[in-house]
Amino acid sequence: MVKIAVENLYFRYPEAAGFALRNVSFRIEEGESVAILGENGAGKTTLAKNLNGLLKPTEGSVKIDGVDTRSLSVAKIARKIGFVNHNPEHQFFAEKVEDEIRFGLRNFGFPEETIDKIIQEVLSVFGLEEYRGKNPFQLSGGEKKRLAIASIMAWRPEALIVDEPTIGMDYAQKMNIRRVLRRIVSEGRCVIVITHDVDFAATICERAIILSRGEVIGDGRLRELLSDDELVEKASLRKPFIIELEEETGLTGLEEDFDILSSILMEVFQKCRS
């Protein structure tokens, strides 16, 4: 079933001379994992904000479950489509981690007696139990990102849009976020990752939508799109490491064993260095 339908979307910021998005059309089905890729300034975040109703199309339409976003409030859309900002600190204001999760649940009118139960469950799923009473601003970068995703996933939206999930993160933190997102995908929820980190996207998403200067220049299976040298160059991206490795070695299905593979490679690199 179609969750999000974008048809001939054009978007222009107030005061801007040109369109930030031009003639963008695609459909995202329930349970799909989609990477929106593109260089800086390609229009990825603008597209994401159109998908969750923060921005309304200048021309064309964005429909959530068949309803035009123009006729829905941001809060109504947010109940179905969660959005995680690239900077988690832009959402923190509570004194404790648990209160940060409580905020969205209260806004959406969850009964108080179930809120505590949900918080406990979410903290456990996202590995944040030990930080329950800690100030969100005192968490590490990776923990902040996990808390940001946790505080959205608490009300169980049907789809999740994550803007630049790996920005400024080290390897271990990226792996944690990857596990969290893969878990959400495995629950049958739709995950849309906005990034230019192709290695990260390749291990989570089946499908990619590639943007360049506000236009869709590629939409299809991520592996196929990112194997196309011409397209990759046009979008100022690069081939994911995993695809390059498969091409070099002739092996296939390496992303299935990505965790094992990456730990082996880390070991090899460390040995080479020493």
């Binding site: 947010a78 900002n85 832009h90 505080s151």
Partner: protein
Amino acid sequence: MSFLRAFKYRRKDTVVHRLDPRSKFLLSVVLMMVSIMFADIRVLLVLISGQLILLFLAKSLGEWFSSLRGLVFFFAVIFITQLLFGGTFYTGIVLSLRLVALSSSMSWFFLSSTPEDIGRAMSVAGLPIELTFSFTMAIRFIPVIYDEFQSIYDTQRSRGLELEKGGFRDRIRNLMPILIPLLVGTIRRTYEIADAMEVRAFGASPKRTTYKPLKLKSGDYIVCIASAILVVSALALKMVYGVE
């Protein structure tokens, strides 16, 4: 926050943009003083009309009009407080017009002067560098803070926050999830900038030089004379003709 757009410098090639920041600042201060001096609707309307001409010459009328939308909240506060505390509808109009006149007095100046130009003008006037630098930094960061505010606002709306929901007290309480991250971010940035400046030896040399000295031209003298005429006319209107 959209009213802040009226204070963001826009690079344009106009007569007003080419003026020396000192002469523009003088006229801006005079316009502000006159706005405060009078409570007569006619005078305030004439003053606003004059400022509209300046904004037209600076090709910045669009920015000014869009910023007026942001002032609507303040107009509402003015009218409500007037009606609550024994004022009249007339005083509400006067105060609102004064607010427009005051904000316009600063608006055309900031729209047409770069923060660097303003800093240079303050340095030439003999103000300490710590003060001028803080001032120019504050101006330069207005758009940055505005963008951050917008991002935080969007993020909290995506978590179900509805600012327009509830009574007056609820609406004020609803601002907290926006103001706290904004404040924390601003304070953090302040420390980062202070560190970045220190590692580049800010304040190490007591004597500073400028690579782009300011020079008054004929247009600037005209602005200075116009400012003087405006002061004399305002005083005459007030003292001789007794205009309120």
